[in-house]
Amino acid sequence: MYDVVVVGAGPAGSMAAKTAAENGLDVLMVEKRQEIGVPVRCAEGVSKAELAEFVEIDKKWIAAEVIGAKIYSPDGSEVILSEEQAGNEVGYILERKIFDRYLARLAAKAGADVIVKTSAVDLIRKDDIVKVKLRKMGEEWEVESKIVIGADGVESRIGKLAGIDTTLKLSEIESCVQYLMNNIDFDPNYTYFWIGNEIAPGGYIWLFPKGENAANVGIGVMPAKAKRKPKEYLDNFIKQKFEYGKIVEIVAGGVPVKGEIKTAVADNVMLAGDAAHHADPITGGGIINAMKAGKYAGIVAAQAIESKNYSAEFLRRYDMLWKNDFGQKLRRNKILQEKILKMDDKTLNKLAKSLAGKNLGEMSVRSIVIALIKANPRLLWDIKDLFY
């Protein structure tokens, strides 16, 4: 019998497994894919300061560093958020293939068992424990566990099996495609964002540097708003901007942009990361929240084992922890997202022009919105209290 079975070996799962194992628990982490970290579903950008709170930075999984962001409205108006000079890098672009494996190895090193090419296909609650049905290469068997942590991504089965409704509506997901491109020309000190209802309805196009003349160039669109597939919008954009770029990798994905969910726990079960819709509704960024949530889930798992109480009621402390940390930000950014979704391209251009030529400094959603409120008080008056 395990204390904890963690389903999914992304950043949330590995942090949960690592934390639980470090607290002396018997942990099993299962990953349905045969290779951890592949294929990525992610633009790989992460805040430098926040990442450093979890792991010692290792150059092996840093693909690039950036000092800021450039955002373009539909008519090309540019908004810059950056540190004044190079040397003040605020963001990393990770090499997730290596990073995810590194985290999984930290979990293994802490004592967690790890198996790959294995899916969790059913949960059966019995008395106060859970039987987890696993399937590896066509063969099924069961393991018993006191707690299950579902870090099984946007397509989470664990949530649904445990009775937490995690199905996303077409207005609560971004449908994404990304190319790793070579032979393209851009300033590698910046990440880039292009917004607009024509180029990326309900989402945006991004460029995240991954070294010399190489970058993740991707798009997210909201299925409720988009008329075509994200791949078509992206191909269109690339034809105009990076005609001679070479595509050396294609990845796709769905990013939850639902905002804060009511609860990520059920009896014996906690959800973390994309499975709990922890990604940010504005940026779509999810790595740091996933790592935080994984860590909190591991801590609460240890407390639950210690108290011999695996009820939803006890596990609500996990809800408390992640909500206190980033729940408010998910709520705030959901409101902001809904506001932006209503804006037409003319309004987006007007907002971008109001900030043109200024460097807003800090690379954050808050710093953009505060600058926008200062320049356009009437347009954004109703949301100002969320950001001050």
Binding site: P39, V154, C176, P223, K231, E232, G253
Partner: protein, 64 residues
């Protein structure tokens, strides 16, 4: 369920096995097994959510 003789089919040459279709299925009618999406026609209600969400355009509705 009323499906009017329709069903959802997957083009495996286009699928990038990202799981977005599973995230929007309220009938639990699909599963991503590593790199392999399977659709359970019994459970599928042909609601089109997965077809509209698929980033690659790998899902389509056909007449049975």
């Amino acid at each position: 369920m009323a499906k009017n003789g329709k069903k959802v089919v997957i083009d495996r040459y286009k699928c990038a096995y990202c799981g977005a279709c599973i995230a929007v299925c309220k009938f639990n009618a699909n599963e991503l097994i590593e790199t392999f999406v399977v659709i359970d026609e019994e459970k599928c209600n042909v609601c089109m959510a997965c077809v509209k969400t698929c980033p690659m355009g790998a899902l389509a509705v056909v007449e049975e």
